[in-house]
């Protein structure tokens, strides 16, 4: 795990989850200890009983069988409860941490420099949250493994040590060998393969989304099979990466099984001169301890996927360096566009309440200019002034509070009509009268009837990204949303594109009335004469 942002977050979560993680560790240690003791003591009891039985009735009567059999019961129960406690505590810690990491990652995405954050397409972003974050989950769940391994090795050394120092050293050497081998194998085999999985999947998902959007064309031109073949081809690296990952997984599983048998044999050989009960105890304890310590190897397994996920998350979470000045008193001052942003010699000044028509060919930069005002794009320093303050020196929270946008693509969030409108009027969540305001605005945008017909009305579901609404309906909903937001400037990007002439007239009249009533300023980018007629000033970007 490299970089600082994610590491800081994870470290904070580890600290926060210290109590459940410690509980998980202790439970894991108790489980391992009980497993080793159970088998070891059983072996010792058996051998002791054999010796006593061979010596005759007196020895049998003198043999204390109560203590070992009670111990066997205790270890069995400890092992059961310990395992349950360990699993539950470690997962509780992991999920608690993840529920905080997920929103933190989104917040990091929102705070990152817009060019970088906006370059993410949706499919990759999903992979980013759900899978990368899940990869981090293993970090928390596997925290208990070293405790278990440590307890198992300690118990193993202790029990095997009863049969002599040589046996104990032999066992310890094998345990260390197993750990090193597990680490080396996983590091080599799983890292590269794991890293491939997330990116390939994200690209495939994006591509499928693009293909599905072209339905009728596929039917008419018989392209479906070609497209499926191309998608299958694109999925091949994913299959290859998964195969490599699983083969590596299988390989890392060999080491513990190989070593356990070897270790038991080695311990018996080294403990040769010790009494039989102790040799039995040592051999069985070594067997159980090696198995319990083998869990450590799993901890290395997901290292590759984890490192890749952490790397990408870090990239998203890198904090932007924003220099901000004060943001007070900006709402009633003029906006000046300098030559550096206009590409013309003369600057352009918009007085408060002025309306600017933005015209020009497709691709001339109308949308770019609106996005620059919102701080979604980097601009030459000082090229736009709000009053006398350069826009690039005003913090985004202050700058964005000045503007309300109806975007060119009429973007919607998935959810209800209300979810979308409330973006523009976030304060009116629980006010019953606020609904009247929403309805009034919808009616002005000739959308009231459509929404009333929707099952659920304002709470009606508009589909994924507004898919249940037509393009024109989404546009009017976007306008209603923009008008609800109380900002001194409206930024309208192609506000009537895709509307028929009658609807356009209604919408433009509503906008005119609203601008006259509130005295707000506006910047309107459009090809069409009706909305441009609202404006007193004009800027042609060529």
């Amino acid at each position: 795990m490299s970089g600082s942002a994610l590491r800081g977050l994870v470290r904070a979560e580890l600290a926060r989850a210290r109590a459940p993680l410690r509980l998980a560790g202790l439970a894991a240690a108790a489980t391992a200890l009980a497993a080793v003791l159970l088998l070891g003591v059983s072996g010792w009891f058996l051998a002791g009983a054999a010796a006593a039985g061979a010596m005759g009735p007196a020895a049998v009567l003198g043999f204390n069988y109560l203590l070992p059999s009670a111990g066997i019961r205790l270890f069995a129960i400890t092992r059961t409860l310990g395992r349950y406690g360990e699993r539950l505590a470690s997962h509780a810690a992991a999920f608690g941490a993840l529920a905080r990491l997920r929103p933190a990652i989104f917040a990091g995405l929102a705070a990152a420099p817009p060019e970088r954050a906006l370059a993410l397409s949706s499919g990759e972003a999903t992979a980013r949250l759900v899978q990368d974050v899940d990869a981090i989950e293993t970090l928390f769940v596997r925290r208990a493994a070293p405790w278990a391994a440590g307890a198992a090795v300690l118990a193993g050394v202790g029990l095997v040590g009863l049969a002599g120092d040589a046996a104990a050293f032999g066992f310890l050497a094998m345990a260390v060998l197993q750990t090193l081998l597990g680490f080396a194998l996983s590091a080599r085999l799983t890292r590269a393969a794991g890293a491939d999985l997330l990116t390939t999947g994200g690209r495939l998902r994006d591509r499928l989304g693009a293909v599905l959007a072209t339905g009728p064309e596929l039917h008419c031109h018989g392209l479906t099979d070609r497209v499926i073949a191309q998608l299958m081809e694109q999925a091949e690296p994913l299959g290859a990466a998964r195969l490599a990952r699983w083969s590596a997984d299988g390989l890392t599983a060999i080491a513990p099984t190989l070593l356990a048998g070897l270790t038991a044999a080695l311990v018996i050989w080294l403990a040769g001169p010790a009494p039989l009960p102790l040799v039995a105890l040592a051999a069985l304890a070594a067997l159980a301890a090696m198995e319990a310590a083998g869990g450590l190897a799993r901890m290395f397994d997901d290292a590759g996927a984890l490192a890749a996920a952490a790397g990408r998350l870090d990239e998203v979470l890198a904090a932007p360096a924003t220099v901000t000045t004060g943001g007070d008193g900006l709402s009633a001052v003029p906006i000046s566009f300098g030559p550096a942003i206009l590409g013309t010699a003369a600057p352009l000044v918009l007085a408060p309440g002025a309306r600017l028509a933005l015209t020009g060919q497709s691709g001339a930069g109308k949308t770019r200019l609106l996005e620059s005002l919102l701080g979604l794009r980097a601009i030459p320093p000082g090229s736009i002034l709000i009053g006398d303050q350069p826009l690039d020196r005003i913090g985004p929270p202050h700058a964005r509070a000045l503007f309300s946008l109806a975007p060119q693509n009429a973007a919607m969030i998935s959810g209800s009509v209300r979810d979308n409108l409330l973006l523009g009027a976030p304060d009116s969540t629980n006010d019953p009268r606020a609904d009247d305001r929403l309805w009034e605005m919808l009616d002005q945008m000739a959308l009231g009837a459509r929404v009333r017909a929707l099952p659920g009305g304002l709470d009606g579901w508009i589909g994924e990204a507004g898919a249940h609404f037509s393009g024109g309906e989404r546009r009017r909903l976007a306008l209603a949303r923009a008008c609800l937001r109380e900002a001194p400037w409206l930024l309208l990007d192609e506000p009537t594109e895709g509307l028929d002439a009658d609807t356009e007239a209604v919408v433009v009249a509503a906008l005119a009335a609203l601008l006259a009533r509130t005295g707000r300023g506006a910047v309107i980018a459009s090809h069409r004469p009706a909305p441009l007629a609202l404006c007193g000033q004009r800027l042609d970007l060529g």
């Binding site: 159970l38 088998l39 059983s42 009891f45 009983a49 054999a50 039985g53 069988y65 069995a76 349950y84 699993r87 993840l98 997920r102 989104f106 929102a110 817009p114 972003a125 999903t126 949250l129 998902r205 591509r207 499928l208 693009a210 599905l212 072209t214 009728p216 064309e217 039917h219 008419c220 018989g222 497209v227 191309q230 994913l238 299959g239 998964r242 195969l243 699983w246 083969s247 599983a253 080491a255 048998g261 039995a280 497709s362 919102l374 979604l376 509070a401 973007a411 973006l423 976030p426 459509r450 994924e464 990204a465 249940h468 609404f469 037509s470 024109g472 546009r475 949303r481 028929d500 609807t503």
Partner: protein, 475 residues
Amino acid sequence: MLRGVALWAATTAAATRARQVKRHWRQRVLAALLHARADAAPLAGIAGAAAVDEIEALDPYLIRYAPARANAAIGPLLVLAAAASASLVAAGLLAATLLPFVALMILAGGAAAEQSRRQFAALARLSGLFADRVRALPLLLAFQAEAATTARIGTAAREMSARTLSVLRIAFISTAGLEFFAALSVALVAVYAGFALLGLLPFALPEHVDFATGFFVLALAPEFYAPMRRLAAAYHDKQLGEAAAERLEAVLATPPAPTPRVRPPGRAPGLRFAAAVAGAGPDLRIGPLDLAIPSGGIAALMGPTGAGKTTLLRLLVGAAPLCAGEVELDGQKLSEAGSFAPLIGWAGQAPILLPGSIGQNIALAAPDTPRARIAEVAGLAGLDALLAARPGGLDALLDERGSGLSGGERRRIGLARALLKPAPILLLDEPTANLDATAEAEMIALIGRAAAGRTVLIATHSEALAAIAGQVVRL
């Protein structure tokens, strides 16, 4: 040691097979998605999850669970047989622990299956919500809604954590139960063998137990439950795999678009809509539409946004259902043909692009087309300026995203593709939307030339474009 090697071989073999199985699933799922009848097609988010995540989610089932299940069926029997050869009573004790163990597994497993389905729903919601909000990030930033959205994602993530944890709380009961029975089997064998060696058992033994026998069965005892512990470790894999397979089956059950049964008419056909009603969603109907386009005529569908212009175009290619009325193509009925797609050239707003050259993309549907013919339709579609500006012209390579092409250029490639198809009908969906006045005028002139010899139906908002149509229907 042998077990280790066998385990690795089994995993690799299972993984290789799993890749084949997944390939097969993916092929079928993609076909189901792309051939789906439009009104039954899953949303893009679900489609993406199905074709990528849910298919890969089969891996643990195929690779870890399936071999573990086979091993769990055979492994304990082998151990039991080995134990029985040394001590029948010890083997009996091992077998006796099996009964309550199986009962517990069935109880815990059944409960976990139900919970697991719920967890999948929560996961899908979380993933969908996050993807949607990231897509809408510019909007959320503009409306300064990032804090509120972060809080909402937090709520969803907490809900998901709670659900996952409740699944695991039950799944872990079986883990603990297995641990208990594994410990119990060791304890029972140890106590039996120990007391037999001491001669303290209150009943007569059917067999003789010495130390070697006792040690042997004791060493075997942990192995009795080992295959089942491996199976249990994979039990969660089974739940996830089965839930994924269930959702994939639902996608595979998507009704496919009908196979068109239509005869080529030999010339530009007449098209007649007779009170035709198209379905645009679960309860949205478009029409009835009455319209007769003569052979070689141009008609424009206009109307307020949402009136269903595109839906009526989709009706002809079987991408929207015919709910009432009829459409006839020189007497052939749409209700019988299912779709006129084989006779139609379609140019939409965002044409599909595949990795390859511009020329190959134009000729996607007919790869054997002579180069001269491709150049001709490219010229007809107004691509000359683009081809001149790009090194290689028709041979200039595109990636599958069409990086570097503007929206207008993509649309022209789509138009060229539609023109290349010797189809007597041309359907154009908003060919001039989002073009400025100059570009729109150019496109209208192109369409006028391209329409020669074809029957054309255009969905548009543009009065200028509608002016070239012989008939204009206002919905």
